[in-house]
Symmetry: C2
Subunit: 479 residues, 2 copies
């Protein structure tokens, strides 16, 4: 068990230093590693497999609502990026710029896409002529680059992976409805596959996406009480269509502006998975998206019979449609168990000579540590049953945590005190003006997370400035 | 039928101008469109769906041999790129360079990856310590940028999509074997899924990949007789390991250099699919990778009964696992047929009121134009049977074309004359020196395509210089 201890000792405890714990888990679970390019990470096989599972599952949901994938150019001419005023102010300061191609200095510099609204608009300007061409429901899976000053794995890196959906519609009603439709797709995916409960609502004017009429956001709570924005869906109305002159002939043969949405979801979510579910032993992955759902560990690897029986179990489970592997290395069982835990493998199956005699094996849950002896005859059924329970209970626990970390405040002092003591989300009224939000953020680091759809009238006054309140806002400190 | 004609008239015939025909098909079949970024194209939904099918099918084959996916940084510091001498000479002149990040001028410029050997080596230098860490069988699906002067859709664009596999091994034997293993994976995939017959062999010293000991290539023949390099697999031995100091502790506790391979396959192959199979009516896709395998067309769209029956057929075929859609638009049947042909949909199912009375429908093959009346009861079975025949016959026809376009030459004049008259591949002996190849290429545009494994001794003299021959080479003009 000496080795076992060593592996866990390599990560800092959450209580001691949550930020350090987070980075330790990213590296020790082999999700990623820092690369030779400053601010860029390598997604290692285990981390990329996790992202692949997320992609496949989400892509399927996109296709079910009629979205198809495309690939737009990675480089955007500066003039194209400058066409929509708010958008360029939001993104130009953090672009990486290509100024030389081969040995030639470019006449116009090109940005590596920080996001692709402008490129999709340019494409539609060329291809959309009539109402028959609408709606356009497009998406791309790609990476984007934003020149961040401080970086942290998954949460903020200069290059990150994501999908960006962009759609074009005939009317403002249609783009509004579609914005909410994709918002719902994200919500269901995050809750049911990632076992992460969500808070959702509209962003304030200050926090909305550069160029959008409205931004809808899904916020999740991390174990340190901080918020993480997990997915956003933007309704642009005809803002971009006007800037890019995207008109179509409607059924009455009139040229009218089209309307647009965009919606995105990135590898940031891996940061959320780590910080919502993880513990001092490492990562804890929800079975639905775990690259390895079950690992089989023969207790005595020098015993051929034990090894063969373990292989047989692996094959049976693989055949039943689960993602299973086996650890046949010469490490000690204790070390292997610790490794399973570090990597967040939802369930391990232990089998030793005595178990074989009794025709049983032992399932060990990563989430609770519980050991369950099962008859070999019932293996597949039992493993699937336990994985479903794990998925559900991981969600329940995260939901309790979220629910117990939402409070209310009537005054600024109360807001600040509660935020400092308990962390989490705090509901409070807001006058709606950007200055209040900026002042509060500068003073305390607290930001508005969203305006929830179900509004409560906690008081008549803005929690910051005391002027008449416009709506209830959920506040928090965020990643 | 007026509309019908119009659509076909939009593409130039192959005989009139093959290059123009090619571009017309790319655009009119809506595979891609030129973008606002010079030298970059947009992969439109239909083109990207084709690439997705190729990716999924090939990725499955990679995973079956134990390869896992990762994601490496898109940007490479100049110093890292400069580490391997031959490699940098091959790629540095065509890199796109990032010189500004946000508002900061970078101290060291960064290349957008033209290929990622250097990045993988840097990663292994950090992560590989012992023989237990080997082999490393990695791959990434991504886009790369090379600053080409002249561009053509799929064949040569400044950004293109590909997979690049990179593996690290313990010995030169292992890297050699793995290079050939992946070469075989490509060959089988290209032949069985894309219905493209291949010529294969080793590249000459002049044509091999920058930094490799040996490059294995798969060459295909286009309908204009020109060659297209469809996939390559490179054996680096320990060249990169020495440049990047990648050593591991072997079983005897000795520090030794690792060995490496890389292998790539890109959206260029879409160019090959177009030019191997296409005709004057447009694209012709092999059923195994067609985004739409079958399109159902009701002859009378104003007749509810006809439309409902057509929908029923679509649903039945979809349920049987095929990729099927339906054309319910108000275009004429003739126009719809032409559109099916332009997009290369392997099979269309026509059904009209008279067919419904007789309980039949008509299958129309894209490859031959053949019409087959089938009983509705037998629909699924018949459609699958015909799709299999199409896949096989498309391969057979392409194979006959390849076989009838391989000739031999004993002298330079014969080589040039035959190449000018008949096109295709020509087998001829070669002394092995780079100067001969360069001279021939400069004079005639003819290049060595590969050194086939099965060598014939056609003569004792080099076809170019007349000096003693070293081996037989297959020559051609290439894209």
């Amino acid at each position: 068990m000496g080795n076992d201890k060593k592996l866990v000792e390599q990560i800092t405890s959450q209580e001691k230093d949550f930020a350090k714990w987070y980075t330790d888990v990213c590296l020790k679970a082999e999700l990623c590693i820092y690369s030779g390019t400053k601010g860029f990470v390598v997604l290692r096989p285990y981390g990329y497999a996790l992202w692949e599972n997320i992609m496949h599952s989400l892509d399927k949901r996109f296709k079910e609502v009629g979205v198809t994938n495309v690939a737009m150019p990675m480089l955007i001419p500066e003039n194209l990026l400058l066409k929509e005023k708010d958008h360029v102010e939001g993104f130009a300061p953090e672009c990486a710029w290509v100024t030389c191609g081969g040995e030639e200095v470019l006449e116009e510099r090109l940005a590596i896409r920080p996001t692709s609204e402008t490129v999709f608009c340019d494409y539609w300007n060329e291809t959309v002529k009539s109402y028959r061409d609408l709606p356009q429901l497009l998406n791309q899976w790609c990476s984007v680059v934003r020149w961040e000053k401080e970086t942290r794995p998954f949460l903020r890196t200069r290059e990150f992976f994501w999908q960006e959906g962009h759609t074009l519609h005939a009317t403002k009603e249609e783009s509004h409805d579609f914005t909410l439709k994709m918002f719902k797709v994200y919500e269901e995916f995050i809750q049911s596959e990632l076992a992460i409960p969500v808070l959702k609502g509209k962003k304030t004017e200050k926090e909305k996406f550069a160029g959008a009429n409205a931004t809808y956001t899904i916020e999740s709570i991390m174990k340190d009480g901080k918020a993480l924005q997990s997915a956003t869906s933007h309704d642009f109305g005809d803002n971009f269509a006007k800037a890019f002159d995207i008109k179509y002939l409607d059924k009455n043969n009139q040229l009218v502006y089209a309307t647009e949405t965009s919606w995105g979801f990135s590898t940031r979510i891996i940061g959320a998975i780590i910080m919502v579910h993880g513990d001092d032993k490492g990562l804890k992955l929800p079975p639905n998206i775990a690259p390895i759902q079950v690992r089989v560990i023969p207790i005595r690897t020098t015993d051929d019979n034990n090894v063969n029986k373990a292989k047989e179990l692996m094959e049976r489970l693989n055949k039943s449609g689960l993602k299973v592997d086996i650890d046949l290395s010469d490490k000690t069982p204790g070390y292997k168990f610790a490794e399973c835990e570090m990597k967040g493998i939802p369930l391990r199956v232990e089998i030793g000579p005595k178990d074989i005699e009794k025709c049983v094996c032992v399932l060990v849950r990563r989430d609770t540590g519980e050991k369950i002896e099962v008859k070999l005859d019932n293996l597949e059924l039992e493993v699937k049953r336990v994985l479903e329970i794990i998925q559900q209970e991981m969600y329940n626990i995260a939901k309790s945590f979220l629910d117990s970390h939402i409070d209310t405040a009537l005054t600024k002092d109360e807001l600040i005190n509660k935020m400092n003591n308990k962390k989490g989300f705090i509901k409070a009224m807001h006058c709606g003006c950007e200055e209040c939000e900026t002042a509060l953020k500068d003073e305390t680091g607290i930001t508005s997370r969203c305006i929830p759809k179900e509004q409560e009238n906690l008081s008549d006054k803005c929690v910051v400035c005391g002027k008449p309140a416009k709506y209830e806002v959920i506040w928090g400190k965020s990643y």
